[in-house]
């Protein structure tokens, strides 16, 4: 690409990736070193869970205790850095800060949890005699959040991509006798695959459980079927603007759908929105400030006369916003009369 902001992103990446990798290695080193160095002074199994009274009530073998946090961290840090390092995420400040905060918080949580667990078990012959947990719980909650805030501040440093310039306004023929309409969709192929896999697994397990091939299979059928339904709803969104109304519908059945009369719409515009900004996929946020997130990127935002807003990630949003605004401007004189 010839976009000048991409060259700065390449330069930024060479600074961002080593810093993120250094944090990942530091946390992993602590998680490995602490149990290994103190192995001789720890019981096996050791206390790893404390009840509401503050007394230990659960244990884990030393090997599992030493291994589990490291494996978890490698997975979390690998996915987190992998996603944050993608060019599209890296050059935008908000999602980058979000991932940095998440990485800092997760690393802090694993280290503080391990540190207090080791301290409570240190030099105790048996896990049932491990020290109690009281004030440490507050530290385990607060310290990672503080680290997360630092990570967020660190992630905010660096470039922030300016939004792409708005495309040229399309010409809209509103003369009498013409009926302009706008139709657009957005699809998420991964959600279609999720639906297919989950529903197929649900059917196979249900058949196997019914024929007696496996026992206790029914417990997995319901969550799998639910996953399939959620995936189906998330797989696509369709937006239609006609001179009377705006209709938003989701899923392959185009249901559920929401239809709004145009006299209830104040105006419309285009924004870039991403899952990291709105908190994931699906219907995100509270009614009145919600986003229907199918895929990151171009998003049609409508503002209602009631003051509420709804964002829908959909292709070709500029044309939809232009038609909505043109139709609203046309009907306004008759509303004010």
């Amino acid at each position: 690409m010839t976009d000048p902001r991409d060259t700065s992103a390449t330069g930024f990446r060479t600074r961002f990736l080593p810093a993120a990798a250094a944090w990942a290695v530091l946390v992993a080193a602590v998680l490995v070193a602490v149990p290994l160095v103190l192995a001789g002074r720890l019981p096996d199994p050791l206390a790893t869970h404390w009840g509401p009274s503050g007394r230990p009530d659960g244990s884990m073998s030393f090997a599992a205790f030493a291994l589990f946090p490291v494996v978890l961290w490698v997975a979390v840090a690998g996915i987190g850095i992998g996603v944050a390092a993608r060019a599209r995420t890296l050059v935008r400040r908000a999602p980058r800060a979000f991932y940095c905060a998440g990485l800092a918080w997760a690393g802090g949580l694993l280290i503080t949890t391990q540190a207090f667990t080791v301290a409570a078990n240190l030099d105790r012959g048996d896990w049932t005699r491990a020290a109690g947990m009281t004030w440490q719980v507050a530290v385990v909650v607060v310290a990672p959040i503080a680290l997360g805030a630092l990570g967020w501040l660190a992630g905010r440093r660096g470039p922030d991509a300016s939004p792409a310039p708005p495309p040229a306004e399309p010409v809209i023929d509103l003369s009498p006798g013409k009926r302009p309409v706008w139709v657009s969709t957005a699809t998420a192929p991964w959600a279609s695959w999720l639906t297919l896999v989950a529903l197929a697994a649900a059917v196979v397990i249900a058949a196997a459980a019914r024929s007696g091939l496996i026992r206790d299979g029914w417990g997995a059928v319901v969550p799998l079927a639910l996953t399939g339904v959620v995936g189906a709803v998330l797989s696509s969104v369709s937006v239609r603007v006609v001179p009377e109304s705006l209709t938003v519908s989701v899923g392959p059945l185009r249901w559920p759908l929401r239809r709004v009369r145009l006299d209830r719409v104040e105006r419309a515009w285009v924004e870039e929105r991403y899952p990291a900004q709105v908190g994931g996929w699906g219907y995100r946020g509270l009614p009145g400030r919600a986003t229907i997130m199918i895929r990151g990127g171009e998003c049609l935002v409508v503002r209602y006369t009631s003051g509420g807003e709804l964002g829908i990630t959909v292709d070709d949003a500029a044309a939809g916003a232009a038609l909505l605004n043109a139709l609203i401007a046309r009907q306004h004189p008759s509303v004010e009369r």
Partner: protein
Amino acid sequence: MLLTLDLNDPRPLHEQVAVAIRRAIEAGDIAPGDRLPPARDLAHALGVNANTVLRSLRDLRDEGLLEFRRGRGVSVLRRPDGRAALRTRARDLLDEAARYGLTAGDVVALITDLSEEMA
């Protein structure tokens, strides 16, 4: 995709829909390689039967403007050539002329006059 139906057009519905889609392709609202929205979404927005839209899409495919691909829906293959684009606009011109009470012959005479002036 932005489409405009002409409510005074006397032609059959499937032709009107084809004209609207052809115009959107001509105007560059939808470019070669872009996918069209599903036929039933178009039908819903235009207030016509899905089979009507499918018939227009097939006509446009036969014209070589659209491409049907299994599992990938309908996409734009190419923009109409100059002659086809002019044909649509000439049709618009004739419709407008009819509204002023002018016949096709009057329009031809007008164009001949114009071309003589410009020559």
